[in-house]
Symmetry: C2
Subunit: 172 residues, 2 copies
């Protein structure tokens, strides 16, 4: 494993263990038993590390959604993964997408499961993504009042036809 990969691994560990504000160049170096400036022998700077984490997060999220056969299970998987990996989810979605640093295909792979459950309808897939992301983002930010029944909100949101076409009996 290259030193660069070790650095990104350590960053991910640090992120999940201690939160995003703990991912500093000095603490990251500590984690590897070296000094902060030595990191720059392997990595251009912090943004590059963040982009690598973002790519990883997108791949993990995509993997978590892959198996979902239909809309309800996709929604459940999406929410479940985000709540289980809030810091990774944040870095996957809050950071402006660093497309130029992203390996080709990563974005498409993350989008694929949503497209699948909308039968290839791009507009519907984006609406679905907005809905799922918005609910997760607000939940993670603690914006719903404590005690709000979010299961009910998700059930409501996914039962209504945000996603599919003209409804039951329609083209799928």
């Amino acid at each position: 494993m290259s030193r660069r990969e070790e650095i990104v691994d350590a960053a991910e560990r640090l992120l999940e263990r201690a939160g995003p504000e703990a991912v500093t160049m000095r603490r990251l170096a500590d984690e590897l038993g070296i000094q902060a400036p030595s990191l720059y022998k392997h990595v251009a700077g912090k943004p590059e590390i963040e982009a690598a984490l973002q790519q990883r997060a997108l791949q993990r999220l995509a993997a978590a959604l892959e198996a979902a056969p239909d809309l309800p299970s996709l929604a459940a998987a999406y929410r479940d993964w985000a709540l289980r990996h809030p810091r990774l989810y944040e870095i996957a979605t809050r950071l402006p997408l660093a497309r130029e640093r992203l390996a080709p295909g990563v974005e498409a792979a993350a989008a694929a499961p949503l497209l699948r459950v909308t039968g290839g309808d791009l507009t519907a897939a984006r609406a679905l993504w907005g809905l799922a992301h918005g609910l997760v983002d607000l939940e993670l930010a603690g914006r719903f009042p404590p005690g709000a029944d979010l299961d009910a909100v998700w059930a409501h949101a996914m039962a209504e036809r945000v996603v599919a076409g003209p409804g039951p009996g329609g083209p799928g």
Copy 2:
């Protein structure tokens, strides 16, 4: 106008003019012609300023939504305000809600317009909020591919019944 209000005003000006990373205690002090440590005579720290900005942003957003008579115009107003004031929108929604610092009623006032168009259905209002917020958040973060037809996405999302009950002819 109290010095504290002047500080929050200056912070808002700075935020809208130069972005969130420009809102530092030193630049804020510059804007007021004083030195950074003097700010602490009027304000406990930066989080307090951010909470004040968040409250302001919520009030502005609520005001922008107030006049919307129905779902389509509410959705349009929501997106429009967010795109026009991206930094304020960010601070309104990305920051964990500092409920203990928030003036009473602000949260409810911001929620009211959404509740109105869902006929008082709290679950539907939350789903609607998630949808609108998610779409706006992803758009602001530059997550949709350049050239994506977001008007169509919004039209699709709002045409489907994320929000209302059992559909046209239903209880409204």
